[in-house]
Symmetry: C2
Subunit: 616 residues, 2 copies
């Protein structure tokens, strides 16, 4: 990464500023233009045609907001991306490090940088209502105005902007989905009834895919397709480009006697929403997490702005989804045991690189049944690159993987039966004392959170610190959340549960049958990164008491990949922690070894057996 | 408590409902009327004349909101008060248990109970903007309206309403305040400058008292006085009844050459605020924690709504305040050592009661230097009364304190040099196994949080669970926060830092020199309660590393009262925990014993020495 030079943005900014004052595009000149990271569906990961913030700034991370004024250009991003953004931004840009106390908020910065009366433009379809509203109010209070500009200015500047993807859609079979889309619609209507809603507007792509038991490939790594839906009490309208709808999908959706589904052009949603509202008796449920562009088509008093009920339904996995997730992780463990056995053999020979390891991981995964794609860009990082939290190797940044440095691999795949996401940190030689101490404290944190027993409904921000305590003890920490939900053959990041020191207004408490990652880490800038991540199922804990009749919960690891023991500093590792690790490794061996044997992967089996030996 | 019968509210509700539809009082009939708990300064503890929610409902707890519709009356309160409210509400009332999942929010309940178009009245001076705004929006979205009614309807119903208190004000000497009010004003003006504010409206009573180094006695236990202030860049206006202003106070405020202070009648603030706004150049800073009634006098675009800067200034204690708090707690420890030594002698004789113990605690405290009053109503509770979290004994509820039941004492005092708040749980006979287990787990939680090392700026909700983990392990919990800020000879509860699983929008992170309580508990309804509470100073921790150059923090107990060791279940108490307790007791002995000796309190000294013996 160190050797890549940042993208030169001078000409792009010049052209953007031209359109900001061009009266044929904007009624009155804009003193600033905001370029958010997402798409019109508020997706975290986006299609190439939607990478507008990346196009204008050169910064490729998954989260961040660019703001361009007549004089300045500034980019806000969080702790995962500070190092990466510093390397990717050219001198036109100022990096605004979110999470650092001195960093101004976007509203404060705009108020300080711009004169009173300034107009700040943004594409209203790219900002959710819950981001739009406070920003707009804050700016209004300071005498500035947030102005919706329907014509996206970046699209005007961006000559060779890729076309919107139009890949076909597949059916997710009932054996993996576990519930028919008709049953799901029935459940959604029950929740609409509770709120006296006549129509629910579904805009989140993974909610659409989950609800209708369909999967697409419009966004790399995310098996979703561009569409919207209006769920009414007596009909369902889906807005999706015709080209994506195969005859099978058409039949899947429209052959039900009891639930009438009609298909419409993707672009027709706005018009239909405007026309619809006066004709429905109840209110229109548009979650505040949808775009301001859509929500403003319905008068506020007719709107229900609560979070979509589908997010929570999707997060509570059914038995088929849980079985699928477990099976996907066994296959993933097979692939990773092979990879690590192979790396252990190859690294000492020399010539191993981050990219080679990454490609090999994909190759091993792709040999497993029902493999579809990776679930995100593989983070394969050696030595100092490991400290760039969301690093992905490029030809320019590619480092050797050696016996001298820590190697961190954060990777996952989409299988038809489930989505995986696992991080392991390895040393193929003799680790330093600092590497061992940090690794051990990260592992202690992982174990502490995994072993925690907590009341059902506890929000993630309340328990996040259990994963940090062992680091805090010696003045260390990490600047990212500790866990996220994972989709079942869906997006690798999903809510509405999170485990982070940050709180989110839509955050819900943890419940039985949710799936979350546990992934504490530690990053020593310029030296190394380490992180240990499992996907876990939230399960009922057996407790002697049940306070106020509540369930108490704990975690059960779904990921079953050995955790390197030679990196453990035994002087700070307790007997209890050792017992956890032995139990975990026994489970890895019990479940994964028979599959390795059956697939005839002998070297990987040897590696697994050795790495999971009981230790004292 | 069990034997007190609830207040009969039928006639009061009848009269209130009469005024809700009386066109001489309200323009159009109200379908509901909200009676919040606070006063016009959003105080937690209030003067008798402001106990409107208590008057209308009979419920005496410090937190809760009553809503009266034409048909129903409902009271929302949190987990500390569920048992108490159940006993105090008559059959006109429905208890809405906050913190229980099935409990509707006030807005949801109003929307379900009332027809569309319904008008819900409330005194706008009794709701802060940050409560008013979301409630009003939520109701508006559902087609109902929140209507400000300046004439308080309870005051119309309440024939024998007490007069507003008018006690005189004292100067808080510099030796205790540590900083002149002129220096504080200077600092406040710096913070106003940062926000381009021309005027700061100060409405919180403890902020006023702290800012001007003055103390009053208008509210029981809280050394504050009713007043408002407008801090301008070249003058300061204080709104306070003339009767409270002694010549000394007049001189204290108006004799400064550089800062011009003028005094005005308390009731003149609203008029002055209306007149003021057009004449100031910058904006008017009215925190959203002030009343909607006041804030709406300034147009929104001229308003700064951020939290008052004084809250955080006050929370960061200066050296004189810290020394004062420490000294106050030593005196408090002397009084409590005496009390517990006395109880240990008296309880076996029989005839001891909650009220007698409570009176004796006050008597011992009042013998200490600079004693002013208690800092809150003493919670002296025996056996099942201990499970009523904010229980205060009355003649009707008074239980014997015996050798058979746990005794919980949560009490504190106002001394001129500091405010105290301490809880100890004791058994004077043979505790049961369950009592010991629960007590030990509460103590383990106390120690875990007290020992925690965490980054400066961490918010309380992130670390709260450390105090619960030992309870969660066996399926137990408690339904209140774990800690609160404490004033320096000011309110026993103060923000803006808190330690709770709940988050608050105004919550700030913990910083060095803050003072907080640590007070986990466990309550077995119908049997017992236990809680162990210390006031602690937030101090810098020595750590091997300093992540991102940050300070790491920990706690140093200010409270120095022995923690009963015979209640500890050794089978679940670790060596590390034992070491903490021995260190704590050594510190109690080191600091408190010489004072007991000096004051000639021999029996208490004997008791302290015995209770602080090193244990293995």
């Amino acid at each position: 990464m160190a050797s890549t030079s940042p993208k030169t943005t001078t000409a792009i900014l010049q052209r953007l500023r031209f359109f900001m004052r061009n009266s044929e595009v904007v009624k009155q000149p804009l003193q600033a233009y905001i370029v958010p990271s997402g798409d019109a569906h508020q997706s975290e990961y986006i299609a190439p045609c939607d990478c507008r913030r990346q196009y204008v700034s050169g910064f490729t991370g998954s989260a961040g907001t660019a703001i361009v004024t007549e004089q300045c250009a500034a980019l806000w991003t969080d702790g995962r991306y500070h190092l990466q953004a510093e390397e990717q931004l050219d001198s036109n840009w100022t990096l605004m490090k979110e999470g650092v106390a001195a960093t101004p908020t976007q509203a404060d910065w705009l108020s300080k940088s711009l004169p009173e009366g300034a107009r700040i433009g943004v594409d209203p379809f790219l900002l959710s209502v819950d981001v739009w509203r406070p920003l707009s109010e804050k700016l209004k209070q300071s005498g500035r105005e947030l102005v919706p500009i329907n014509q996206n200015l970046i699209d005007l500047v961006w000559d060779d902007r890729p076309a919107s993807p139009s890949n076909h859609i597949d059916i997710q079979p009932l054996q993996f989905a576990g519930k028919t889309w008709q049953d799901k619609i029935h459940e959604v209507r029950g929740k609409m009834n509770d709120k006296d809603a006549s129509v629910l507007v579904v805009t989140a792509l993974d909610e659409l895919a989950w609800l209708f038991n369909m999967r697409g490939s419009d966004i790399e790594y995310n098996p979703v397709f561009f569409a919207y839906a209006l769920i009414g009490m007596d009909r369902v309208s889906i807005y999706v480009d015709e080209a994506k709808v195969t005859p099978e999908i058409h039949a899947h959706l429209t052959s039900d006697e009891h639930i009438k589904v009609t298909l419409h052009a993707y672009a027709d949603l706005c018009d239909d929403l405007c026309r619809l509202e006066p004709h429905v008796s109840g209110r229109v449920w548009i979650p505040d997490q949808s775009s301001h562009g859509l929500a403003r088509l319905v008068p506020e008093r007719r709107r229900i702005s609560d979070p979509s009920p589908i997010a929570l339904m999707k997060a509570l996995k059914n038995a088929a989804e849980i079985a699928g997730m477990q099976n996907a992780h066994v296959k993933d463990a097979v692939a990773l045991c092979e990879l690590f056995a192979w790396l252990e053999k190859e690294v000492p020979k020399g010539g191993m690189t981050e990219l080679k390891a990454s490609a090999k991981a994909e190759q091993f995964r792709s040999q497993q049944a029902d493999f579809v794609s990776l679930s995100f860009g593989t983070i394969s990082s050696s030595g100092p690159n490991g400290a760039i939290i969301h690093y992905q190797p490029t030809e320019a940044s590619n480092r050797p993987v050696t016996m001298q440095e820590l190697y961190l691999l954060d990777s996952g795949a989409q299988y038809r039966d489930g989505t995986t996401d696992v991080t392991r940190t390895m040393h193929f030689g003799e680790p330093s004392q600092l590497e061992m101490e940090c690794y051990t404290r990260v592992l202690k944190g992982h174990i502490a959170l995994d072993s925690l027993i907590f009341p059902s409904g506890t929000k993630g921000h309340v328990i996040d610190c259990n994963a940090r305590k062992a680091l805090w003890d010696v003045g260390l920490d990490y600047m990212h959340g500790t866990g996220h939900g994972v989709g079942a053959f869906l997006n690798v990041h999903e809510g509405p549960q999170y485990i982070s020191f940050r709180t989110r207004p839509t955050e819900v408490g943890l419940e039985e049958h949710m799936v979350v990652t546990i992934e504490p880490g530690y990053y020593e800038d310029g030296l190394f990164g380490c992180r240990i991540e499992n996907v876990c199922l939230v399960v009922i804990a057996e407790t002697a008491h049940r306070f106020h009749g509540k369930d108490f919960l704990t975690y059960e690891p779904i990921t079953l990949v050995p955790i390197q023991t030679k990196l453990i500093d035994r002087t700070i590792f307790t007997q209890q922690e050792m017992a956890w690790l032995n139990r975990y490794h026994a489970r890895c061996r019990e479940v994964v070894a028979p599959v390795l044997k059956q697939q005839g992967r002998t070297e990987a089996l040897q590696w697994l057996l050795r790495e999971t030996e009981h230790i004292e």
